[in-house]
Symmetry: C2
Subunit: 401 residues, 2 copies
């Protein structure tokens, strides 16, 4: 990602998103938020800093102290940069959260920066000290209703990972709730050589659990294999752990049953690039590629003007097509050879690339020849799809984007 | 905003955006980013923390020290939570910013959280310790080219404030560059009783400058008046102040000429509510209202079922209309009286409100009577637009949204 100009390291464990990387991040955020809006979740944003008092209430100021960045205001009051938001959202809901009923829980999410004062930030964006996370919190009047909500949100997570992003490699494993509290929890793991974690995977039936040596697959009795992974999401049924402390309760005086859900957006981008790329050609899930289409203008030969006007009139036509507005890159770096630019576009993993062939003069809708190339996940090289004319190109775009 | 459930104070000077307020914030961010994308600016996001070394290079670690929140990592290295981003963006561009040419400057912007360790955070979101800001930085090969870029961006700012948001009250005044460096700068002020600042305003010809006692209008020789305001944006021509320190320079070895531009997004929302509202009825610029349309379902009378199905089939029709997807609020709180709900919708400033009149049974496209009410900036009460039938309602929506 650094060599492609997508991100830039500003210090150990911290990364700026440059224009190409930012486009990927914005697209991922939109995919996730679209699916969450579909299930009736509402977007909020909470301050990044929280008071020591707030985190003392839950007991996590002490327990999580060493991994939190801390700061003080002018009056010497202590704050942390929040690694997660259970305390704050529960206190807010305790004050504002009216109208929660059975079958109509409150689902609130945000996509905000989280902080972890890691002793050894490494593996690039896989383990950084600041990261973008989408975190969702749900509030129900009963454990049974919360259990139903847990299913609704985890179903949305599956749609995000498997249907929208096509990351079929993700394994969902039963997990410990640990410091977060509650009884039920699942982790979403993507195979990754950076090996933050390991899961136990049965290669036959794809059953997976948290790794411990010498375990056998429950389904097919095979010995399970330790697979290096990175955790890209987690989901927790929290019960009343936080709601009882912060007094977030229904009209009947019973504390709400809570769940929380999180997707590490920046980490997911890094991990899916690792999974889908081959060699030094970067590959992303199709909906996240920084541009869907690139149009490569030829290098001028002799006295022939490069066909800029032609390309921009073509751009007008193409942007009128469904879903392509703002998603077309015109590669007009005509001082560089086509081959060199194609190499860069392949490394960026632009899915559809059209190379306009050199010609003496260009008029809109002229009879031009266009070379069509595609890139695909897990393939390092282009797929050459032959030569098209202008109307064939439009029909490719209409049918394949 | 607090009483309308748009925001919630989490501690002195910090606010969470609840679902209604978040919708306003997302819409404002989109308006600003749309206009900046139009002029070829590219979105990035930089880490919120920066090292002491980075800020020491520019000399601002010492100069700004008292108003910055500071923190330390595991290795005891010092960081600040950035109040602004000149140092970091210039260092990034020094490493990556190739291809800047005359007439083709580099424009980078972000919409991220900024921090100010205010001694007295007050006036709600007008002066908070964390705020969302859209900050844009431009890099040009010459001062002349930078001057042209300054005009392009400030023209985009004028479109945002005057055309898109209709905030005609904003006064643009020549300002001092102060701590930021450089020679040319303008502040954008909106009249506001919170009176963070004052400008001198000539009531006749609307000329304005920074306030000092007893100054006369240059244009019409009238005595100028001190007007309490809040600064919602600032723009600076920075010259080579940062580029020379961080070594951000062109192929010719000459440091880039820089400008920086910032809009305080959260503050702008608070200030425009102050400007446009009357009494306790909240008003926002039209494109920022949390929903464009509300449909109020009648309270069930006797044995009549509330027309939920009817409303949702209507919703399908309406969402097909241009720009209305996701922007319609169905007020189905049928246990509350219509009058009470209308009062709340007026306080929220929803521009178009349709009240479906009670009826024995409801079928899609039925002959129903719909009361049409509007709210407008600077007006506390509804404008009653009479009774419509279903097709008149559709035509109102087609022509007025």
């Amino acid at each position: 990602m650094i060599s492609n100009g997508m991100i830039s390291q500003t210090c150990k464990g911290q990364f700026a998103f440059l224009p190409l990387g930012q486009r990927v991040l914005d697209k991922l955020q939109k995919v996730v938020e679209d699916e969450l809006n579909q299930i009736g979740a509402q977007k909020v944003s909470m301050p990044l800093m929280a008071t020591a008092q707030l985190w003392n209430k839950s007991g996590r100021w002490e327990r999580n102290g060493s991994i939190m960045f801390k700061t003080k205001n002018c009056e010497n009051a202590e704050f942390c940069l929040q690694p997660t938001g259970e305390e704050m959202i529960t206190e807010i809901v305790a004050h504002h959260g009216a109208g929660i009923s059975d079958g109509r829980p409150l689902l609130l999410y945000q996509s905000t920066e989280k902080f972890r004062n890691e002793a050894r930030p490494e593996y690039g964006m896989i383990r950084s000290t600041q990261f973008l996370m989408n975190d969702l919190y749900s509030f129900d009047v009963s454990l049974q209703s919360a259990s139903n909500t847990y299913k609704i949100v985890t179903d949305a997570y599956k749609r995000i990972f498997f249907e929208r992003l096509g990351l079929t490699e993700i394994q969902i494993v039963d997990a410990e709730n640990g410091d977060m509290g509650g009884d039920v929890s699942h982790e979403y793991h993507l195979q990754n050589a950076a090996a933050q974690d390991h899961i136990a995977l049965c290669r036959d039936c794809k059953t997976s659990t948290l790794w411990s040596p010498n375990i056998k697959c429950e389904k097919c009795d095979n010995k399970m294999e330790s697979v290096p992974t990175v955790e890209v999401a987690h989901t927790f049924m929290l019960g009343t752990e936080y709601s009882s402390v912060f007094n977030a309760k229904g009209d009947d005086g019973i504390p709400y049953s809570m769940n929380c859900f999180g997707i590490g957006l920046t980490r997911l981008i890094a991990a899916s690039i690792d999974t889908l790329s081959t060699g030094n050609a970067m590959r992303l899930p199709y909906p996240l590629s920084p541009f869907k289409v690139a149009i490569v203008l030829p290098k001028p030969t002799g006295a022939v003007t490069p066909p800029l006007d032609f390309a921009y009139s073509m751009l007008d036509t193409l942007e009128g097509l469904r879903n392509l507005d703002g998603d077309i890159l015109i590669d007009d770096r005509i001082q560089k050879s086509v081959g060199r630019r194609l190499n860069e576009l392949n490394q960026l993993g632009i899915p559809h690339i059209f190379v306009i062939q050199a010609k003496k003069s260009f008029q809109p809708h002229d009879h031009i020849r266009i070379e069509y190339l595609r890139t695909e996940p897990r393939s390092k090289e282009f797929i050459d799809c032959g030569i098209l004319n202008h109307s064939q190109m439009l029909s490719v775009l209409r049918n394949n984007i």
